[in-house]
């Protein structure tokens, strides 16, 4: 069966520090990968998605970036965090078929101080 791992679960970082959140998927190959941010426990904002190694689509211009160095690895990064980067970050994957649902990791709670 497929599983998705996302870490760390919580993170407290000072303003201006770098960020690296990692997500890996097991049990499938060539998944579509996604990073979402959820603010105030409600709406989901799509940040990035990837349909293959090295292929990144950005939805929101900001100081975050994403990379996919391996087929089942998706990394969210920032060189300098802002206070507004605080939130709940969710990684997700889906198979390439149109009827495939998204499957989410357990999220990372990021607090920028």
């Amino acid at each position: 069966s497929q599983t998705i791992h996302q870490w760390p679960a919580t993170l407290v970082q000072p303003v201006g520090s770098p960020l690296s959140l990692e997500c890996t998927v097991e049990g499938t190959s060539n998944p579509n990968l996604y990073w979402y941010r959820q603010a105030a426990g409600r709406g989901l904002q799509l940040l990035f998605y990837s349909v293959g190694i090295g292929q990144i689509s950005s939805e929101v211009p900001q100081n975050l970036s994403a990379s996919r160095p391996q087929d089942r690895q998706f990394i969210l990064s920032s060189k300098k965090l802002l206070l507004s980067d605080s939130g709940f970050y969710l990684c997700a994957w889906a198979q390439g078929r149109v009827e495939s649902p998204l499957h989410f990791g357990n999220g990372t709670r990021l607090t920028v101080t």
């Binding site: 989901l44 889906a94 649902p101 999220g107 709670r109």
Partner: protein, 115 residues
């Protein structure tokens, strides 16, 4: 533009009563619809999906959803609510425009089941 709407921010229901969480959609072409549940500080869990076929879709934890093409709705239902069903529920539709792979989510409905 493709979209989903969840008109209720919160739904309260007594334990043992039937529950309905509403979702309406706007898409061009055939809709691919999904329901998710989120518990506090956790990721979203997939409940069920509608692709084609029967208008009543059965999913996890006793949930089902009714697809209504004429009303462009996909309401989530459960015959008898449990306190443990209290959570945040999201409706989503697959964005099929321009060959993208995105999913469009509603704003979420908080379900509170009262003992």
């Amino acid at each position: 533009a493709q979209s989903v709407a969840q008109p209720e921010d919160q739904v309260n229901v007594a334990e043992g009563n039937p529950l309905t969480v509403k979702c309406t959609y706007s898409v061009s072409g055939n809709p691919y619809l999904f329901w998710y549940v989120q518990y506090p500080n956790r990721g979203l869990q997939f409940l069920l999906k509608y692709i084609t076929g029967d208008n009543l879709v059965k999913g996890s934890y006793g949930f089902e959803a009714e697809f209504n093409k004429s009303q462009t709705s996909f309401h989530l239902k459960k015959p008898s609510a449990l306190v443990s069903d209290s959570a945040l529920y999201f409706c989503a539709v697959r964005d099929m425009t321009s060959g993208t792979y995105k999913y469009i989510f509603g704003t979420g409905t908080r379900l509170k089941v009262l003992a």
